[in-house]
Symmetry: C2
Subunit: 387 residues, 2 copies
Amino acid sequence: MENYIFQAPTKVYFGKDQIKNLPDILSNFGKNVLLTYGGGSIKKNGIYDRVQELLKDFNVFELPGIEPNPRIKTVEKGAEICKANNIDVILAVGGGSTIDCSKVISAATYYDGNPWDLVIDSSKITKTLPLVTILTLAATGSEMNSSAVISNTEKNEKIGTHSPLITPKVSILDPEYTYTVPAYQTAAGSIDIMSHVIENYFNSTEGTYIPDRFAESLLKTVIKYCPVALIEPTNYEARANLMWASSMALSGIIGTGKKGSWTCHSIEHVLSAFYDITHGIGLAIITPRWMRHILSEQTVNKFVEYAINVWNVDPINKDNMEIAKEGIQATEDFFNSCGIPMNLGKLGIDDSLLDKMAHCAYEQGHFDDTYVKLTEEDIAQILRDSL
Amino acid sequence: MENYIFQAPTKVYFGKDQIKNLPDILSNFGKNVLLTYGGGSIKKNGIYDRVQELLKDFNVFELPGIEPNPRIKTVEKGAEICKANNIDVILAVGGGSTIDCSKVISAATYYDGNPWDLVIDSSKITKTLPLVTILTLAATGSEMNSSAVISNTEKNEKIGTHSPLITPKVSILDPEYTYTVPAYQTAAGSIDIMSHVIENYFNSTEGTYIPDRFAESLLKTVIKYCPVALIEPTNYEARANLMWASSMALSGIIGTGKKGSWTCHSIEHVLSAFYDITHGIGLAIITPRWMRHILSEQTVNKFVEYAINVWNVDPINKDNMEIAKEGIQATEDFFNSCGIPMNLGKLGIDDSLLDKMAHCAYEQGHFDDTYVKLTEEDIAQILRDSL
């Protein structure tokens, strides 16, 4: 087990109608609010109107239209609004994209250079506006952590930045706000949650019993409740457990004591950067192919643990390799059963940019530090297997 | 699932030699430090000397001799030192008793009345000194939460108080600092951890899948590592997992979405108040008796879940009541195997004050709000079964 620092400073208001606390929460920071959101679904489901009604005594400025893979141009736009209007606090209403974009806006407001600098070098983040979030999609965990991922379409880059200063001060998590999330996005978000857990779980640090059992708990949560939410979108228990799983998966709690870099996210980021696909879908396609690629005598024990503890694979009369393969197959079958298109071809992606993507992924990731080290050719092979 | 607020603001430095960060941590708060500790074990194992060496540029005042069940008189003494010397920060080095006492000192420093008021009415806690802790015993979870339990020997009362203002700002958790904890205290601390989890787990709120699986994870952690630590006191992996289990068990994370009051702690508190016994020992004795007392057709399903998921009881060819009873027996057998004296008689406690203790427990607890409601006679019966 490695030494670590743990803190979960975001104050989470979880449950039905917790939004009623919004005026009290925001008034701790000031009167001038930048309200950020995405494509406008919050106008259809009533959250926008509720926010406006609650903020009638505040000066509300708006940044709508944050993209699903939020762009650095949008960060610039937001920071300009903050600077021009003495914004006191940013209120992000949406999923991970809106929150991630708002995190970097909060830092860019106090940075005079190009905001992309803050993405590629987080040490340049030295001061931020306070950020409050209202979550509308269970997926990225951005509502309770210190990370943000931003795309630069000019450079075909999608890069994560990390700083305790961008952690939300308060997050309002009302599971009912995810009732209107369509099935496809519910599935993609659920697999994003699972991927965060899997990236932490497949790790070579020894002795991390607690985060490993917590990880299995969260995977079982998604396996239990994602199918329920797909069939019954207004099932509170399912939406609530998925939402809390989202926050827990990436709050740091299941990474305690572990070291090393992530694999599938680094590969998926180039897919999103080149083809602007939904993050969770890319992860669903890549993950089982990566698992098969790295399965070996060296890794089989971890896969056996995963198969038995997460997927309840019956180990009787099977050798370790068989058990491990059943666990991987169960993973792929589950993603498939959630309605995910499980090949890149189904997203219109062919092999034309494959080597270029593998090269970019290798350059941007840290594949000498992942659970199993990967070469550029390994990444190309995983992408090829995903076609 | 109930609405809830979650936050884990304590910054935890976990691992080997994290104490090296102490000067940087304390200098955020000021130069005048009140160092609090217990019976002096930190002088034997070298932690005291290391702290003094690290704090050579600070003005260090001391409050030694904090009792295992810390007393309100000691709180008064600590607050007087803080007031007289413009203390900027309290550094508690010890287990839950030292930390609990220091928490109430931090509040009493800014309170002009009798500090016992702060224990019986936490709304009177309005301002506190910052508190930094160095943990030397895995047990109470006080290092990462907002609770403190104080005894008033004049009144035979042992009462908990709760306020976010008394939560430690920083806690240093070095598993090596628990290498010298004797077997009996290691066992008692481990059972205290398990009891915190069990009190949260046996709860009638529906739909709390994540905290329930997390709870099982922590129970399995103690079941796996307590026996290792008893045989091999310097096994880092065992000590580290027990230490982190201590913090996680009472950080709020396994209580999310649940309502209701605790049972065994309220009964044990009167035992400690009347006989000054070790908290974890009292809990070990009471818990299986309480479980048997409340086992019924109404509660059997929860006990079946507990037996299978925590104790790996094989359910094949058994009815639910048998499975439940096996889980309870496994609990008692485990406590016994850790070397705990499993009867009150072994601690020199007979039935002479039994009815009085049952009456006090009933008056001080909230037994109409526990997993299964208890009457005063129920409590007396559980105590009688524990003799």
